[in-house]
Amino acid sequence: MNMGDWHGHKHHDHEHQAVPSDPALRVKALESLLVEKGLVDPAALDALIDTYENKVGPRNGARVVARAWVDPEYKQRLFKDATAAIAELGYGGRQGEHMLVVENTPSVHNLVVCTLCSCYPWSVLGLPPVWYKSAPYRSRAVIDPRGVLREFGVVLTEDVEVRVWDSTAELRYLVLPERPAGAENLQEDDLAALVTRDAMIGTAKVAAPQRAGA
């Protein structure tokens, strides 16, 4: 299993020093207790972890976006019933049971947050990044979305309307970003490769493709 990169995460080490005991030891002790009591099956834990490390992630959402870009009828179905349209591509289930898609245009920019906890569309984006779950993002996205977007390098002019979606219920939001200029001739798979996780949260735009060869 992926142990993650232990380098370059000084802020995590710092956080860990602030808690009374090593969380790695506490989690290990908890797991062995629950296994010994027959409350959880360790192989089921492996399967859960494998799903979110290797099978479900933002590539799912990127395929939804690319399909919407190339297929106007699919895009309409996505707005009419996002859960069903996303299921057409084989994605759904936990934390994606009730999906909504909101569209970025030259005049409207959408941004998704969960101020109360960490609600996020797992089925299309996987598990949320640390910053999405952090106090700085959750506190500021609703009161200063333009400042937040600037911090992410997205500068919007005053004539663009910003819509912030606070995921307070079980509806899960996916932003349909604008198709970048210069991507007119790309096929669906190549378009999907352009789409980043942050563009589907609304903290980024999709960059124009790098011109390769001809």
Binding site: N2, M3, G4, W6, H9, H11, E15, A18, P23, A24, R26, V27, A29, L30, E36, K37, G38, L39, D41, A43, A44, A47, L48, I49, E53, V56, G57, G92, G93, R94, E97, H98, T115, S118, L127, V130, W131, K133, S134, A135, P136, S139, R140, A141, V142, I143, R146, E158, D159, E161, V162, R163, V164, W165, D166, T168, A169, L171, D198, T203
Partner: protein, 221 residues
């Protein structure tokens, strides 16, 4: 509850720190903590709303200091104890109480794909009349329940417009306390940014919040 988890609009929390090429889990213990929460949830001794509320009950200083999966771990311990699946003595000792019987885990590895693929819908196929219609102006109630609520403080008392009716869903404010699902309509409510934050906000901007019938009241002229 008016807890520190209700972060919308709080200032001074510092810069947002995105991490390039962030792994799904930073440490193996985070992955185990995540999976333990899901697997133990399969006992169905609590619901998603009770699980969220348990995190809200962490002491405020701990809530702000602990990393995400530290909170998940602390919350799981409390849920397990409240559900009677483990005792605090067992947590402290790390071993099952003497003479306790061994259970059979409800979630097997073979079931994991279908369980995740199915999820757990929060919508309810029951006939409940909506109290509001799309386009109607409403006010978010000025309420301060001591328990779980999905009505953020920053919206309370403010006037918004029903953007759309999502249909009928479980009401977390009662479900979190095992006081019933109380299914009712959830609406996407549009609040103008200036209604919430005053003139410092852009006149074009808005915040959409998903709120339940019990969070809203008509605007009386």
């Amino acid at each position: 509850m008016n807890g520190v988890h209700d972060l919308g609009g709080i200032q001074g929390m510092g810069p947002i720190e995105p991490e390039p090429n962030e792994p799904v889990f930073h440490y193996e213990w985070e992955a185990r903590a995540f999976a333990l929460n899901i697997a133990a949830g399969a006992w169905r001794k609590w619901n998603i709303d009770a699980g969220r509320h348990e995190i809200e009950l962490l002491p405020p200083a701990n809530y702000l200091r602990m990393s995400y999966y530290e909170k998940w771990t602390a919350r799981l311990v409390e849920l397990l104890i409240k559900a009677g699946l483990v005792t605090r003595a067992e947590i402290a000792s790390g071993t099952p109480a003497r003479g306790s019987s061994k259970a059979t885990p409800p979630l097997t590895p073979a079931q994991v794909p279908s369980v995740l693929r199915t999820g757990a819908a929060a919508s309810r196929n029951v006939s409940v009349a909506p109290r509001f219609r799309a386009g109607e102006r409403i006010r978010a109630r000025n309420i301060h329940p001591a328990g779980h609520t999905r009505l953020p403080r920053y919206a309370r008392g403010h006037v918004g417009t029903i953007d759309r009716d999502h249909g009928v869903y479980v009401f977390p404010d009662s479900n979190a306390h095992f006081r019933g699902e109380n299914p009712q309509h959830v609406y996407s409510v549009r609040f103008a940014a200036r209604e919430l934050w005053g003139e410092q906000a852009s006149p074009r901007d808005s915040v959409y919040i998903d709120l339940w019938d019990d969070h809203l009241e008509p605007v009386r002229s």
